[in-house]
Amino acid sequence: MHLPSPASGKDIPAARASGSTRPPHAIQPHGFLLVLDRARGTILQASASVRQHLNAPPAELLGQRLAYLVHPADGRFHERLRAATQAERIPHHLGTVAFIAVGGRFDLVVHRYGESIVAEFEPAAPQARPSDLGGFVDQAQRCQTADELCELAVERIRRMTGFGRVVSLELDPDGHGRVNAERRGRGYASLLGRHFPAVGQPPQARADARAQGLNYIPDTGSEPSPLEPARHPGTGACTDLSLASLRAATPTLLHCLEDVGARAAMSLPLMSQGRLWGMIACHHAQPRIMPQAVRSQCDLLAQVVALQIEARLAQAEADRRHELQRLTGMLLAAMSRHDSVPAGLASVPGALLEFADATGAAIVHGDECQTFGRAPSRRAVQALAARLARKGGTGVFHTASLPDEAPAFASLQGVACGVLALPISELHANYVLWFRPEWTRGRARPWQACELESAAELRTAITGIVLRKAEELAGLADELGRINQELEAFSYSVSHDLRAPLRHIAGYADLLREYEGPRLSDRGARYLDNIGDSARFAGRLVDALLTFSQMGRSALRPSQIDLSQALEQIRRELAPDLDGRQVDWIMGELPSVHADAAYMHLALRNLLSNAIKYTRGRDPAVIEIGAWPRHGGHVIYVRDNGVGFDMKYVGKLFGVFQRLHRMEEFEGTGIGLANVRRIVERHGGRVWAEGTPGQGATFYVFLPGAQPPAATAADMKE
């Protein structure tokens, strides 16, 4: 295991890359390897390098018993080998041995391979100076983060080994790596911060990393030493050397090392929570021998670091879970404070981003889209949401590589390479999305398990809030229905009980005038007229109020209305009100709208009637009617050059029984504009007005396109 090719470097040719997964069948020549029959201890295969280390050709060793080639030459040595290889595939360092045939001692590492023992020998170096591992552990325990631990480790390993450059790599679960710490000598290029794609590391190979442990290549230029015979005489197959520390470097690895300018290399896996969390890689520009003892110390040190990292990760995850709980609480509180889920989330953008440890976020709600932090454009976010909606699924969607998932969105990877999306409505394509930028080539930092869990919890909570709000609305609708019934009862009694006495007053006043008129004084006759007039006016008020209340309750029957035609008809109806006055009508282009014909007629008639009424005394009176399109609907306006009004009273204009003029000046019940507003609002529209005293007024009506009108209490009841 070594540093793979950096992301910025050349791509590895397929032919060379494919070599990386093939088990190696040769070893490096700085040591030699023997394959023994585990039962008898005879040599079955020997590496070609026994020539230079034992001064003998491999053929001469085959069939001999190893126990009789070493000091002391008795059978007990084989018992040691058998004892050390009880379990499969676990290498054991058995110290040093001396051969009878040659001088010097050899470090021996053995592991079992089926019914064979693989024994590796390397010339032993003088005892290394003991490393201060205790001091290192003290320092490691003071480190707060994995990055700090890596800094400490690369610094110490470079001091211990003298390699030209020592780096540590953090790998994501898919094997993509990033250099997070580095120590290097003069002449070595910096790899700090560089990203490496996962190459030649199938999951099995990564799992083997623990068993393989340290990997050491003293000279990339050395000639690999094959086994003789090439095939195992017992199995007829090539012996698997993947666990041999002497195994030859793969072509891929050699290529990678060449890329980073290394002639000698050593790598140490950092295992955490059962997976390869990262590794420490050492490079040297020249061949470099690293004694077994030093390598063992490095190995131990790497294990200490890995354990510490594991502890930090566990702590970090616990902290993150705690933090996620806090943030979830904040988001939920914000959502219940606001009318809608999007408004609630938008009110705490910081917490929203922190929640997913994201650099950008977005809320897609119907046609609206809000973005926070570094997010793609609204259009891109909406396109993404639409894609998610098409894909379906009500669960949390997440990817560390949007380009892989949806190549159409590859251009977003600078801000949105990783995407976490939370559907927040069962019915609509509404989402909360979080974004992470590219971290390694085409990939973002992956979403952590605890983040995904919290997102799912948040979704459940949001659904709960939405449901609760729906229930509140339903409750409100019930309440409205009840109030509406009360109102109906009230208007019934108004119409029936109040109207009758008014009718009696008016009737008797008329009769009195008829029968007693000649006998009344002028003053008495005037009083009688006033009584009759007042009663009739009160009757009109009651009728107007009833119409107004019915307008809020009866169902709309929308159809397509040609406004030009409707206004022509209204003008004809209102002609008598002109009393022969001259009015200059300016009629603009008028659309056809989707509305209840009778009610719209009433509303427009009210507006025109007002315009005629309040231009009394103007010569000429000018009344302009026009329209323009807006938001898929239309704004219709009626402008006059009449008495106008003071904008400070504009709020009273559309109220029931609100009048801005004295009765003697302009007659009326004061309910006309309230009717207009009620009719327009029932159609989902809006009314407003502008005016200047003495100069005229303009009334605006906005009618939306042919959408369902806003529900009223009456509609909800139905």
Binding site: S491, R499, A500, G507, D510, G539, L546, S554
Partner: protein, 161 residues
């Protein structure tokens, strides 16, 4: 002899005003007054105070909606459910223009519906028109027993008295 008009009205003021209006419409029919629905039913069925009245249904019933004891709609339902009465024209007189009343009255088979106007001259005109239409001009459905009776009424009117 013209068939009478049955006026069912509880409010004394409305009663007086309606009678004046009927008087001014110059209808020759007698007007029988009932002050609540129950009394009107007694009249129609010739029972109680009215058990001795001459046989025959009124030309038209002018019926107020809101009445004590049996209200206008209940009386209407009763009339339409009675084989002997079901073809008598009924005109609803009311202060209310409540839609639900209107719909209910038409469901029960009312012949006309008049919201009493506040303006007295309008009221006189409305009552007059109703009276003329329903008491004089309206013919019962063809084949009904009283078709001949109705015709004879018209005939009798056309004869000089």
């Amino acid at each position: 002899m013209l068939k009478p008009i049955l006026l069912v009205e509880d409010s004394p003021q409305d009663l007086e005003l309606t009678l004046i209006a009927l008087e001014r419409s110059q209808l020759a029919n007698d007007v029988v007054v009932a002050r609540d629905g129950e009394e009107a039913a007694d009249y129609l069925c010739r029972r109680g105070h009215h058990q001795d009245r001459p046989v025959g249904n009124p030309a038209v019933i002018l019926l107020d909606l809101k009445l004590p004891k049996m209200d206008g709609l209940e009386l209407l339902q009763f009339i339409r459910g009675d084989r002997g009465l079901q073809n008598v024209p009924v005109v609803m007189l009311t202060s209310s223009s409540e839609e639900s009343d209107l719909v209910r009255a038409y469901d029960l088979g009312v012949n006309a519906y008049v919201v009493k106007p506040v303006n007295f001259p309008d009221f006189v005109r409305a009552i007059g028109e109703l009276g003329v239409f329903w008491a004089v001009l309206n013919e019962p459905p063809p084949g009904s027993l009283r078709r001949t009776a109705a015709r004879s009424n018209r005939d009798s009117r056309s004869q000089p008295t």
